[in-house]
């Protein structure tokens, strides 16, 4: 009888031990999954920002005066012409290595204006997408003025 009680006691201790072990493992893996997810989103966000910088530094768009280039600025005239060119399939394919599957839009905020779609290449099947928005200057060479605008990059995966 005494031996049986001892055996039950050992089994009970083992059950409690395994419950605690499984609770610990579950907690650990849940926190790890959320950390991985967070890092993935962060990486995607950085890639979207990289695309925005790539677009802003293209000679086809930048605000350059003689040899100097103004940071974080797009030329409104160049933007009009370049977005018209990028609406053609052949030109869109040429810029695929630069922008991949993404959509790039530019919207004037002050003074307000209509949104211009610079590049739009959406895959047939979209698993996830992430948007990165950044303020930019939009230069009007005719008036020699700068408007406050936003560049929006939507990256598809």
């Amino acid at each position: 009888m005494r031996g049986q009680i001892k055996m039950f006691e050992t089994i009970a201790v083992l059950i409690v031990f395994f419950i605690l072990l499984f609770a610990g493992i579950t907690f650990y893996f849940t926190s790890q999954t959320s950390a991985v997810q967070k890092e993935r989103t962060e990486a995607q966000n950085q890639y979207a920002y990289q695309l925005a910088l790539r677009a802003l530094n293209l000679p086809e768009l930048d605000c350059s005066f003689l040899v100097t280039q103004r940071d974080n600025c797009v030329d409104a005239f160049k933007l009009n012409v370049f977005s018209t060119l990028l609406s053609e399939q052949q030109t869109l394919e040429q810029y695929f290595p630069e922008f991949g599957y993404s959509t790039i839009k530019i919207t004037p905020i002050f003074p307000s204006g209509s949104t211009k779609i610079l590049y739009d290449n959406t895959p047939l099947e979209v698993n996830s997408n992430l948007t990165n928005k950044n303020p930019i200057l939009i230069y009007n060479p005719l008036l020699d003025t700068y408007s406050f605008g936003v560049i929006e990059v939507n990256v598809y995966a």
């Binding site: 920002y49 905020i109 950044n134 303020p135 408007s147 936003v150």
Partner: protein, 161 residues
């Protein structure tokens, strides 16, 4: 005292000690003051540089930076900016800058779901241009930009969370 009683007594002591330890941990964790952590934000800094470079048509094509520099030379009393220049529409440079700051913040970070706190803490007049749509609790991302004009300076700060 029998052996079984002694064992139970020992177990009870262990359980009490564990409960006390747990209670202590919970009390320490809940009483901790929230520490304010600040990270550098490219987005906030980009906003400030873009804002300062924006041209204001109604103010003879002056940039927001020039409006702020002009505003720094004025004084603020009784809700009025004394000594600040007026734009073509009769609005003072300070009020015009405030309108643009509020407008651009509302249409960018405000509409993107951020809580923002824009402030110019080190200048008495420009301090009146502060704008926010709430308060950041503990974690925030910050961008700052300094403007200098003939010995006077002001630091524009934008906190996002």
């Amino acid at each position: 005292m029998r052996k079984a009683q002694t064992e139970i007594f020992g177990l009870v002591i262990i359980v009490i000690l564990l409960a006390l330890g747990l209670l202590f941990t919970v009390l320490v964790l809940t009483n901790q003051q929230p520490t304010i952590s600040t990270k550098e934000s490219i987005q906030a800094r980009t906003y400030l540089s873009t804002l300062l470079g924006t041209t204001v048509m109604e103010c003879s094509k002056q940039s927001v930076r020039q409006l702020l520099e002009n505003c720094m030379d004025s004084s603020y009393s009784g809700g009025q900016y004394v000594g600040a220049s007026s734009c073509l529409d009769g609005v003072s440079t300070c009020e015009k800058a405030k309108t643009i700051i509020t407008n651009t913040l509302t249409n960018t970070f405000g509409s993107w779901g951020y809580t923002y706190e824009f402030s110019i803490p080190d200048n008495d007049v420009l301090k009146t241009l502060n704008a926010s749509n709430g308060q950041c609790p503990s974690e925030r991302e910050r961008g700052s930009w300094k403007i200098v004009k003939t010995g006077r300076s002001a630091t524009l700060t934008l906190d996002l969370c």
